[in-house]
Amino acid sequence: MSEINLPAAAEPVDSIGLKALGAAAAVGLLLAAPFLASEYWINAIIVPFLILSLAGLGLNLLTGYAGQLSLGAGAFMMVGAYATFSLQLRVPDLPLPLALVVAGLIAGAVGLAFGIPSTRIKGFYLIVSTLAAQFFFEWLFLKFPWFYNGNSSATIALSRGLSFFGLEANGPHGRYYLTLGIVALLTLLSLNLIRGQTGRNWMAIRDMDTAAAVIGVPVFRAKLQAFAVSSFILGIAGALWAFAYLGSASVQSFGLTRSYQILFIIIIGGLGTIRGAYLGAAFVSLLPLALDWLFQHLFSGHVDAGLLQNIQKAIFGILIIWFLIKEPEGLARLLGLRRAQGARRRLFPS
């Protein structure tokens, strides 16, 4: 990057050099990851981690940036997955990437519809509306066989597998690169939104919505935009979860537990930060492995799987409470990735 002219008052050269080097190393590592990690790690850890990060990112735009609490993440993921399935089945000419975009748009429209009550109700009560989405879609996609093409197990899978403009993406490497590409692109677009007027409007509403309206922030429109964009991303994350990670999915893949999981990811990772979604997802993905490893070594293999699961839940519960009370900016703040500042995110604005 030496040919770029440095502006007069920019950072010291070696700081920029270091940053560029770090970025290049990160990109190199991401691209080389499938060749460094075992197939198990790619399939069972890295791909789901990336997808959970994407889902966390989607929810964080709504909850962390725009301040609208939602327990409907699973529902919007579900809509994205079922829409992708339907499109691939019934509009076979539509290539998968476009189907994903259309599915995202459908999920976005659904999110927007369920976001309309947010213009009248706030905080805790908004949970009810988003929970309604959760239960409604669980019911809908089970009730009408059309949604799962009437197969006996009520599951959805892409009969033609994954492909990306002619490139087949069914192997672990293919699924990794497909997921990585989509996650990277959507992260970039989200960053652009956050840094622009859209993001400022969202944060203004989060911090002080009456004042936001008085100074001219279009509160109604910005809230609906937050629901739509968040659900668009969640919808695509849901499709990836179903077809790039699980292979075949059902309503249970996107139940209330999933909604909680995504919410926990952003609480742990950091509300209102982009990297928070990644940190939270990494934590959620790695904690079970770490516990497993720990117990294997402490008790040399004599661990009851059920006990392990319960311990995991207890740890999550304690951490959530701790993060909510002590550190609303989550790991992002704890790891010093965010400037230490006085402002705090609150899930339940007064």
């Binding site: 677009l189 400022r200 409007n201 911090d207 002080m208 004042a211 100074i215 001219g216 509160v219 500042q341």
Partner: protein, 264 residues
């Protein structure tokens, strides 16, 4: 610009109550174009409530607002902003998690013309607008000597500095009527003089009509062209500053409230 006919703002027989308790009773007054109108009165007189009616945050029980010749039984906050009514709040209502610069740019929201998609993909129009917004916000920050705080998260700054950001945010979108609720509260006297001077400049150089709530009578008498005194939601006196100082009703209202405060 419909500056020719009629006053900039007219409050007509406005009444407001909270759960049966009267906050404003049958209040009427006018604000001429390009004047600084000071709204004074003891605590609880209904001053802030009146500004909230003008911004559409509160809905009056009766009466109407005439702003630049148009009649409103009630305002909507967004509508008020679109018509150019700017507002600085009494208890800072800044976006505490955002930087000073972002707070001020947020005040430009009503001028935003780019779509979500343009912003997501950083298309030329979005980049152009962002650049223009930043420039405009920096210009306003300069006016208040706030440049050095541009990137600071606003919630971490001292109260007096926050008050200045609040005014900067209110004027960045070039309002036609500026409502300021105790903009000098919590400042030391040097800061007060500085901000009072900026307010006077805004009024003179930008021909901005200003309604100002302020407790510091010295500053009010220096700054205002027109003073409206409220007490218990009623208009006590309405006239040029010279007539206010020695008015027995005004003295009684202020002394009365101070006695009450001491006794309480």
């Amino acid at each position: 610009m419909n500056t020719s006919a009629g006053p900039a703002l007219e409050v007509r027989n406005v009444s407001l109550s909270f759960k049966g308790v009267k906050a404003i009773s049958d209040l009427s007054f006018q604000v001429e174009h390009h004047e600084i109108c000071a709204l004074i009165g003891p605590n609880g007189a209904g001053k802030s409530s009146l500004l909230n009616i003008l911004n559409g945050v509160y809905v009056p029980d009766s009466g109407e607002i005439v702003f630049e010749g148009e009649h409103f039984r009630r305002m909507q906050p967004l509508e008020a902003a679109r018509r150019g009514i700017g507002r600085g709040f009494q208890n800072n209502a800044l976006f505490s998690g955002m930087s000073v610069l972002d707070n001020v740019i947020a005040g430009l929201s009503r001028h935003s013309r780019v779509t979500l998609v343009e912003e997501a993909f950083r298309l030329p129009r979005a980049l152009g607008q962002e650049r223009a917004f930043r420039q405009r916000a920096h210009d306003v920050l300069q006016l208040f000597d706030l440049e050095k705080h541009a990137e600071t998260i606003v919630g971490t700054l001292p109260y007096g500095v926050q008050k200045k950001v609040e005014i900067a945010r209110a004027i960045v979108a070039k309002p036609r009527l500026l409502l300021l609720d105790e903009p000098l509260a919590g400042m030391n006297s040097a800061e007060k003089q500085e901000v009072a001077a900026v307010i006077a400049r805004l009024n003179k150089e930008l021909d901005l009509t200003i309604v100002l709530i302020e407790h510091d009578i010295g500053i009010v008498l220096k700054l205002a062209h027109h003073v409206v005194v409220l007490d218990y939601g009623r208009k006590l006196v309405d006239g040029p500053p010279e007539t206010i100082r020695d008015n027995p009703d005004v003295i009684a209202a202020y002394l009365g409230s101070e006695h009450a405060e001491v006794a309480a």
